[in-house]
């Protein structure tokens, strides 16, 4: 249970952080204040439920502040948000140490509490000590029994509110020795009887160790509308007094035993008009009305029949998902073998079964896949906070805008993407965005902007970080690179190549190294991390306009829909998502053999002859018409010429292993139904490598 609390607490803290950051932007937004308050409230409730008393108290103070804001008695200020955010961090720290055993936690706890209380106008209480939590439990034990007289006349509507007064009387019986005398004078004739109205009440004598408060607690839910009187009539247990017992036994019939008038409750006493009732038996008024009430409920069938809806989401351990994905991969490989076997058998029954299996496994794959994808938003939230903190530290004003948070990526990719992105953002904040004065002189808005955007592009998801800072000066980079011995003095490099130098190990151009973006060990690591994910990082920059870094990542790592093509004797898979259209070679008109440009559908596009690239010398049989698969790479279309298109194929991608780590064209391999290995093209890299800029320019212009 505690694990659930912790997980949920972290989630709540994240949400709270998000809401606070939004509140920082729009401090007047009422709904945000409500949201902040609501989350705090939940968190406080949970913490107290699970025994995290210190946390609960701590949040209670915060909540008080936001309650004041809610009521317009306090203003949202930057400082307050800072304090609140710091408090969130503090809570995250102390969930593991909620007794505040660590002194640094304890000190922080106290200083933050003080800061928070300053907003509420209260002074800090004595340091939270465990003793504070249990004053109520240390009541002096009372061993002696007292006798109480209780007059209880429930309101008429007590039953319709969902209460059952009999249960309350029963509860009194559980407190000690008890005698209950029902009032039956108001009980009406059965014909005039209204089962939903309570018309009875009780005179109760109770000898118990409990005090008056405990007795009143029994009636706490019915106190509105009911007549309840609790009076202590003796400091001792009167039931031990035989005389008393006899007396009240007698009273139930005609009158009250005791000189109750001396207790000023005479007016409440019943004038029992129906003698013969045994006091301990439940009043007839109640027992009769219980069953009719139920009957009414059961016969009124016209109202809504509640539909059983399932929970909208459940938590699943990520290992289970991984396991599921593995099994699905195996299933698909097996299914491919089945399809192949079925094809060979020319048994129509088997073929239809195999087709069904294929269809189902495809659906299963899509669903299993969808489960491993999570929106990138989860990660964006964390950055909001970081950008805010760092820009503050650096004395810069930065608007951080995120777009495309709904874009989904494999959770493992998202996890490994956090660090590189964080580093890039730090760099943008530190080196990219100029100081406020500099921006002013340049005529730029004082407030810098950083945009983090995610979007789909073919088989990839692109994550783009764009700032409107000072940009990267290729001249400076070049000088620096020469100075550091990264390039030769006479090296001829394109602008792009120069930019790419910043990914070189040990390269840093910041004049002063700040503790924000580290010591220049970053960008090479960033690139390595992204390459490990089979991703690419691209940089574009213009001096004084800004820098854009684009990280391009494969949508998924394990199973893709592909098109199986044949080259010589070998098989290859082209990811279906990258494919635009297929043609036969006869459709194309070669425009320029030297630059590899052809005309398809009245459009000139570059082409790659896969036979040439992969050095496939197998003989091409005369009767084969070669085919062209046109892929898009985000910038334009490129034709891939292959021998023969076999058909659609679900490829379970297996890595090629360390020996082939450095190759560029293939993203992995897959096993066909008959055990043959097919290689899976990485079309983006293929195009990047073999289609030159000139070709693109020639066709795009």
């Amino acid at each position: 249970m505690k694990a659930v609390y912790l997980e949920e607490a972290n989630e709540l803290l994240d949400n709270l952080e998000g809401a606070l950051l939004q509140l920082d932007e729009t401090p007047e937004e009422k709904s945000l204040i409500e949201e902040v308050f609501r989350i705090m409230h939940t968190l406080k409730g949970n913490s107290s439920m699970f025994g995290f008393t210190n946390i609960a108290e701590f949040i209670h103070n915060l909540e008080t502040v936001y309650d004041l804001i809610r009521g317009g008695k306090q203003q949202v200020s930057k400082e307050l948000i800072d304090t609140t955010l710091a408090s969130m961090d503090h809570i995250k720290q102390i969930v593991d140490d909620h007794e505040l055993e660590d002194n640094s936690n304890k000190d922080r706890h106290e200083s933050l509490t003080e800061q928070i209380l300053a907003y509420t106008g209260e002074t800090a209480p004595a340091p939270a000590s465990p003793a504070k939590q249990e004053p109520s439990e240390q009541e002096a034990p009372k061993s002696t029994e007292h006798t109480f007289y209780i007059h209880f006349k429930p309101g008429k509507s007590v039953v319709t509110d969902g209460n059952n007064p009999l249960y309350l009387v029963d509860e009194l019986f559980s407190l000690g020795t008890c005698k209950a005398l029902p009032y039956t004078d108001k009980v009406e004739d059965i014909d005039a009887f209204n089962p939903t109205e309570c018309i009875t009440g009780w005179s109760i004598f109770l000898a118990t160790e409990k005090d008056e408060g405990d007795i009143k607690d029994v009636f706490v839910f019915v106190e509105a509308g009911s007549e309840i009187n609790v009076e202590k009539i003796s400091e001792t247990n009167l039931f031990k007094n035989k005389k008393f017992s006899e007396k009240i036994e007698g009273v139930s019939l005609e009158y009250l035993p005791f000189d109750i008038s001396s207790l000023e409750i005479v007016k409440e006493t019943p004038s029992s008009s129906e003698p013969g009732e045994k006091p301990k038996e439940p009043a007839p008024g109640i027992s009769e009305k219980k069953s009719p009430t139920r009957t009414v409920k059961e016969t009124g069938q016209t109202q809504q029949v509640a539909k059983e809806k399932t929970v909208s989401s459940i938590r699943v351990a990520s290992e289970k998902l991984d396991e599921l994905m593995n099994l699905v991969s195996e299933l698909i490989t097996t299914q491919a073998a089945l399809s192949l076997f079925a094809d060979k058998q020319s048994n129509s029954e088997l073929e239809s079964i195999s087709e069904n299996v294929e269809k189902l496994s495809r659906q299963l794959r899509d669903i299993a896949f969808g489960m491993t994808l999570i929106p990138i938003n989860n990660m964006f939230g964390r950055f909001q906070r970081m950008v805010r903190d760092i820009s503050k530290e650096l004395g810069k004003e930065v608007a951080f805008i995120t777009e495309g948070g709904e874009t989904e990526l494999d959770k493992s990719i998202i996890e490994s993407l956090t660090d590189p992105l964080m580093h890039i953002l730090r760099n943008s904040l530190d080196h990219g965005i100029e100081s406020m004065e500099d921006r002013q002189t340049l005529g730029k808005p004082e407030r810098g902007t950083i945009v983090l955007r995610a979007y789909y592009s073919g088989t990839n998801v692109n994550v783009e970080i764009r700032d409107d800072g000072k940009g990267i000066d290729p001249v400076v980079i070049r000088e620096k690179a020469i100075e550091k011995g990264v390039i030769q003095e006479d090296a001829v490099l394109s602008e792009k190549e120069i930019f790419n130098l910043i990914f070189h190990a040990g390269f840093s151009t910041a004049k002063v190294i700040t503790d924000v973006s580290g010591r220049g060990v970053g960008m090479d690591v960033v690139r390595r991390n992204i390459n490990n994910l089979r991703g690419e990082i691209d940089i574009e920059s213009e001096v004084n306009v800004g820098t854009t870094l684009t990280i391009s990542l494969p949508l998924s790592l394990s199973i893709i829909d592909g098109l199986l093509v044949q080259l010589g004797k070998g098989f290859f898979v082209v990811p279906l998502a990258a494919i635009d259209k297929c043609y036969t070679h006869a459709d194309a008109k070669e425009v320029n053999k030297f630059t590899n440009i052809m005309e398809l559908d009245n459009e000139q596009i570059p082409y790659i002859d896969l036979r040439e690239i992969f050095n496939i010398a197998d003989e091409l049989s005369e009767d084969i018409t070669r085919q062209i698969v046109v892929v898009t790479n985000g910038r334009g279309r490129v034709g891939l010429i292959c021998d023969h298109i076999v058909g659609e194929y679900q490829a379970v991608i297996k890595p090629l292993g360390v020996y082939f780590k450095e190759q560029d064209h293939i993203s992995g391999s897959t096993i066909l139904g008959d055990g043959t290995v097919a290689l899976v093209f990485d079309t983006n890299r293929l195009v990047k490598k073999y289609v030159s800029k000139q070709q693109e320019d020639a066709t795009l212009s």
Binding site: A9, M49, V159, T160, G162, N163, F221, Q303
Partner: protein, 120 residues
């Protein structure tokens, strides 16, 4: 006879804690994550509702008002969970039609004590 209870709380940990306690005590428990969900899941089998006050989408008070406006569920005992023992909250809950309330933090005994006042 059915002893089904409906637990409405947006906080998973609390929901699970309460349901766990009540299931252990032999009750049959239906869980809902907010007021709207609670209304959707309410059915004739339910003999008592335990609900949180503050929830997104639909809060506890709105849900109780909705339930009370349905003659079928007029007599349904409804227990509200509140964090403050403040009187105003209790009154708001009572005005809306809540039968009882429990102040957080509470322990299993307290919860069962109150629930047993209404359903056995």
């Amino acid at each position: 006879m059915s002893n089904t209870l409906l637990i409405v709380d947006d906080s998973e940990s609390i929901r699970e804690l309460i349901s766990g306690n009540l299931t252990d005590a032999g009750y049959n428990v239906i869980k809902a994550v907010n007021g709207q969900d609670g209304l959707d899941k309410l059915n004739r089998e339910v003999k008592l509702i335990v609900t949180d006050l503050n929830m997104p989408i639909m809060d506890g008070i709105t849900m109780v008002k909705n339930i009370r406006s349905n003659p079928d569920y007029k007599h349904m005992p409804i227990i509200m969970l509140t964090t403050e023992s403040q009187l105003e909250k209790k009154n708001a809950a009572r005005m809306a039609g809540a039968t009882a309330w429990i102040v957080k933090p509470f322990d299993e005994d307290k919860l069962l004590g109150v629930v047993k006042k209404f359903v056995r």
